[in-house]
């Protein structure tokens, strides 16, 4: 265990007395014992959160941020051993409590909200009794508990709580479930609230409203909030202060805005530069990557934990542990070379090209797809017209359930569209089913999956996976196959050693490279990428995005990119299509769609994304849930949630998809000039727009009609 240089060489801002902090972690060291060997995961973590303050922990997966959060409420696995330091919550040392004391402590002082609200709620108990139970354990009788539960529901802005009380968790949406979990966590009026990736599984629009709620509740309760999130934008939008963790140490700490604007540690700088931010595009610059990978858990580390990946490292970094240098009011950074941060240059190389519309690669005309579920028709795609040009990237965005994946699967021939739709590849008809397509067509359309874990056969080596695809798609034999595999591997920066490994021996980023190499095995015309980077850490994501745009420039491949991360879409996509309930609501050139005027739904989606830059955007909060595709609203399908709803028009007639400016199509009754004026006005006035009551009434009427 490395020691901590206690008396810092430079004066630190004097820490406030221990009693002022709601949570104070002092020099915490923790190991997991694996097969009898202790493996250190936290190496002297110190920070504090004051009442009413929110503190964010960021870092790549495996850096120890979740372990720190769980240690704070002492929810640790059995093999975890605290090897040093203290955790004080409201002055009590959590590490020294007996089991009974821990129970009382969790009952009264600390609460936790988990990533998956569906798993946090008991599936066999109705919401009412479940929420009330959070109050009965505090000693309230049934009637009091019921009244408290109702108040708790109002607190988390659940309309019609009595109705919700009668439901089971699986009957509610993810956003609703998370509100209920938060309501239960706040039942005891805790001094400390730990949120572990609270919005990770939620759609952007829902995420925005949950984050709004957390912000509001924090102001009300004056609880200290400890937030763990891998999404730096979420941290930026909620947290006052932030700690950046690396290999079990906080390497940089300070005011959230300041840290994200002006990072003072090479790791923070690397993380931020690997994000596609401020609307940059592939044609402007490549994303920075952090070379190397996080050290193995329990690895023996040199004095500075980041030295092996740091471009500034010198001899001193290996011998002297950097203390938390004071780098500004309330800011510290554990780096010997803060003055040399400017030497880290951003990559200048441009990796991609913007593609001007060339030849048509793929055309979809009037493509619909209806699923049949227990007697109901569920239209997942409704009369989709779409074109994909040679060498361009078309970004496909929309909330979950909007039909993005169904569209991709239809193009790939995994799902066959309803009769009447036409798909053409290079001006010849494309068979509906992949099995019936000639090899040439199979070779031409390939896919990169979201989860490389599941996309690669765990029993095969990377070489076997690639060689099989090459020989199957190109018809090459023998040595030619090996040569092609080597070429693919080289293009994706995979070494010969990587090729001989099985997927479980490769890191997430390397696995995704193998999966991308496989898609490129037959020199495809079109690659469908379904959330290709959402399972990866940001620094790995940057490398994958760079490779994707490089491959596109080299091979003139067209991409259909599905992603919920609008930063990623903006970086890669030349054009964007926005989907809602199986319909294309808007399609146009990327910059036009982002800058507007854009469809009200697009406008809402864009405003929902928390950005790491804290850029002001018109705040639009969509109310209500995405309607069921089995029972779509009349007229414009978006009218039940639209903040620009026009009564008497939108719920009556469905607007056509019309060209509002060259190459920019939109499905909205409001004329484009009017939209331009309204949206400019919203930006200037900085108001919060929500769904008007008339639209919600229309939504309620539809919900009442729904036989399901």
């Amino acid at each position: 265990m490395t020691g901590i240089a206690e008396p810092p060489p430079q004066p630190l801002a004097t820490p406030p007395p221990a009693s002022a902090a709601a949570l104070r972690v002092e020099d915490l060291s923790l190991s997991y014992v694996v097969r009898g060997i202790p493996r250190p995961v936290l190496r002297g973590v110190s920070f504090e959160v004051r009442p009413g303050e929110s503190y964010g922990l960021v870092g790549e997966s495996g850096c120890g941020k979740s372990t720190t959060a769980y240690a704070a409420v002492r929810y640790l696995p059995r093999n975890a051993v605290i090897t040093g330091g203290r955790i004080l919550v409201a002055g009590d040392d959590v590490t020294k409590m007996t089991d009974e004391q821990v129970r009382r402590f969790r009952m009264h002082h600390a609460s936790m909200v988990y990533q998956d609200p569906g798993a946090a709620l008991n599936p066999t108990t109705k919401i009412g009794p479940q929420v009330a139970e959070a109050f009965t354990v505090l000693g309230q009788n049934r009637r009091e508990a019921h009244a408290s539960a109702l108040r708790a529901m109002e607190r988390v802005q659940i309309a019609d709580p009595e109705r919700v009380f009668q439901r089971y968790p699986h009957q509610l949406s993810g956003g609703m479930q998370q509100r209920i979990v938060i309501a239960m966590a706040l039942a005891s009026d805790p001094k400390l609230l730990v949120l572990d990736e609270p919005t990770t599984g939620l759609d952007a629009t829902v995420e925005a409203s949950v984050l709004d709620l957390v912000r509001k509740l924090q102001a009300e309760t004056n609880a200290a909030v400890l937030l763990i999130a891998h999404n730096l934008g979420v941290i930026r939008s909620i947290c006052d202060r932030v700690g950046v963790m690396y290999a079990g140490k906080i390497v940089e700490e300070g005011d959230a805005a300041a840290v994200f604007e002006q990072p003072k540690h090479p790791y923070t700088l690397g993380l931020l530069r690997s994000l596609p931010r401020r609307g940059i595009r592939k044609s402007q610059k490549a994303l920075a990557t952090i070379p190397g990978s996080l050290p193995q858990i329990g690895a023996d580390l040199p004095a500075c934990v980041f030295v092996d990946r740091c471009p500034l490292a010198t001899e001193i970094c290996r011998t002297v542990e950097p203390p938390p240098f004071d780098v500004g009011p309330g800011r510290t950074s554990r780096c010997h070379h803060i003055d040399r941060l400017g030497e880290i240059v951003e990559p200048a190389a441009v990796v991609g090209q913007d593609t001007v519309q060339g030849d048509l690669a793929l055309t979809l005309a009037n493509v619909s797809k209806t699923f049949h579920q227990s007697g109901h028709d569920v239209p997942a795609l409704v009369k989709v017209d779409l074109t994909l040009f040679d060498g361009e990237t078309l970004g496909l965005v929309g909330e979950s359930g909007s039909g993005k994946s169904t569209l991709a699967r239809t193009i790939l021939g995994i799902e066959s569209p309803d009769v009447g739709g036409e798909m053409e590849l290079d001006e010849h008809r494309l068979d509906a089913r992949s099995m019936q397509r000639p090899t040439e067509d199979k070779r031409s359309i390939q896919m990169v999956f979201q989860n490389p874990e599941s996309a690669l056969n765990r029993g095969w080596t990377a070489r076997h996976i690639l060689a099989r695809s090459v020989s199957k798609l190109t018809g090459l034999k023998g040595k030619a196959v090996n040569a092609r595999v080597d070429k693919l591997a080289a293009d994706l920066r995979l070494t010969q050693r990587h090729l001989d490994l099985k997927p479980r021996q490769l890191s997430g980023g390397l696995k995704q490279r193998v999966a991308i190499a496989r898609a490129f095995a037959g020199d495809p015309r079109i690659v469908v990428a379904d959330e290709p980077t959402s399972a990866l850490d940001v620094s790995v994501q940057a490398a994958i995005l760079n490779l994707l745009s490089e491959l596109q420039t080299e091979n003139k491949t067209s991409y259909l990119l599905i992603s919920h991360d609008l930063g990623v879409v903006r970086y890669l996509a030349d054009r964007i299509a926005v989907m809602y309930l199986g319909r294309i609501m808007e399609v146009g050139e990327s910059e036009n769609v982002f800058h507007g005027p854009n469809h009200p739904y697009t406008e809402a989606l864009l405003s929902a994304i928390p950005t790491v830059d804290g850029e002001p955007a018109a705040r639009i909060r969509l109310e209500g849930e995405i309607p069921s595709p089995a029972n779509p609203p009349s007229g414009c399908v978006f009218h039940t949630r639209c903040h620009r709803f026009i009564q008497g028009l939108c719920e009556v007639t469905e607007p056509p998809l019309i060209e509002v400016e060259p190459g920019h199509l939109m499905k909205c009754h409001i004329p484009v000039d009017e939209l331009r004026r309204l949206q400019a006005k919203a930006r200037q006035e900085d108001v919060v727009l929500t769904t008007p009551p008339e639209a919600l009434e229309a939504a309620a009427a539809i919900a009442a009609d729904d036989p399901g």
Partner: protein, 297 residues
């Protein structure tokens, strides 16, 4: 870019891949050897296998020849397990009795697992009408009591080792098929199966090359479990008189011939073969349990 790291063809099939496979196998063996249950189970089975192979060469007496002694001598230093009703040495007969059951039971288990796995693969992968029809058939089979069906078949076809193997194997197949089917169902949802379809692989290739190796673990476990049940079933059939025939020293047969003498206090010719059956079944299950937990780690 490709040229700089291209290798000569001789280097292509990576020796690393081979050593990786043997390394994984070694690692699994290491985990198994650390389990007491596995060691005990293996030692017991090893003991019976040695008895079965060496048979008469290591028994203290000839298991088939009666002494001209009165039968039912209680255990004594000369006859550790006593003698049976016609004066044969029980210890010798128990040792040689391992032979028949250790030939018949594994073959029956292998037949059941191989046919069940094939059935399960087809059912799990093709789903739809194929699965519906086969599943109903399998369920109908599962509803039949194994011993009763085996008894009837053996009475009709006459008992011989081959018939016992076939009957027990076929009766086990549906049980195995169900296990394999559910493993295939979760496997076929993974994206690598979609990827294989997208490059135009046939169903046969996907099943045999892509999915089957990944469901091998449950199949191996199923094989050991079925082996345990097969020993039991074969012993039961012999006990009922339709399995192996006299003068075989088979354990189940011996028990059936001698159990009536329990009442008159002559416990040894029944108890020792019965313990032999129990030890083998328990040993096989200990091995199966260890395999299962190592594979799921």
């Amino acid at each position: 870019m490709a040229g700089s790291i291209a290798l000569t063809p001789e280097q292509m099939p990576g020796p690393a891949a081979v050593s990786e496979r043997s390394r994984a196998r070694r690692e699994m063996l290491r985990l198994l050897v650390r389990r007491k249950a596995f060691i005990i189970g293996s030692l017991v089975i090893l003991f019976w296998v040695i008895c079965a192979i060496l048979g008469e060469r290591i028994t203290p007496y000839d298991p088939f020849n009666a002494f001209f002694l009165p039968g039912h001598q209680p255990p004594s230093p000369a006859h550790l397990f006593g003698t049976d009703r016609i004066g044969r040495d029980v210890l010798s007969r128990v040792m040689v009795g391992a032979r028949d059951v250790l030939i018949v039971a594994p073959l029956a288990a292998i037949l059941g697992v191989v046919s069940g796995t094939l059935l399960g693969l087809v059912m799990g992968y093709y789903r739809g009408i194929v699965d519906d029809i086969l599943s109903r058939l399998v369920e109908a089979f599962l509803a039949l009591p194994v011993i009763l069906v085996a008894l009837l078949t053996l009475v009709v076809l006459g008992s011989s080792s081959i018939v016992v193997i076939c009957v027990v194997g076929i009766l086990f197949a549906p049980i195995v098929a169900r296990t394999v089917r559910s493993a295939v169902l979760s496997e076929r949802q993974l994206d690598y199966v979609t990827a294989a379809k997208l490059r135009g692989e046939s169903g046969l290739f996907i099943l045999s090359q892509e999915i089957f190796p990944n469901v091998l673990g449950p199949t191996v476990v199923e094989l050991t479990v079925r082996f345990g049940y097969a020993i039991f079933t074969v012993a039961t059939l012999s006990f009922l008189g339709v399995g192996l025939q006299p003068p075989s020293p088979d354990w189940g047969l011996t028990v059936s011939q001698e159990y009536t003498n329990m009442i008159s206090g002559k416990w040894w010719p029944t108890t020792f073969p019965a313990l032999a059956i129990a030890s083998t079944v328990i040993a096989v299950n200990l091995i199966a349990d260890s395999l299962q937990s190592v594979l799921s780690e």
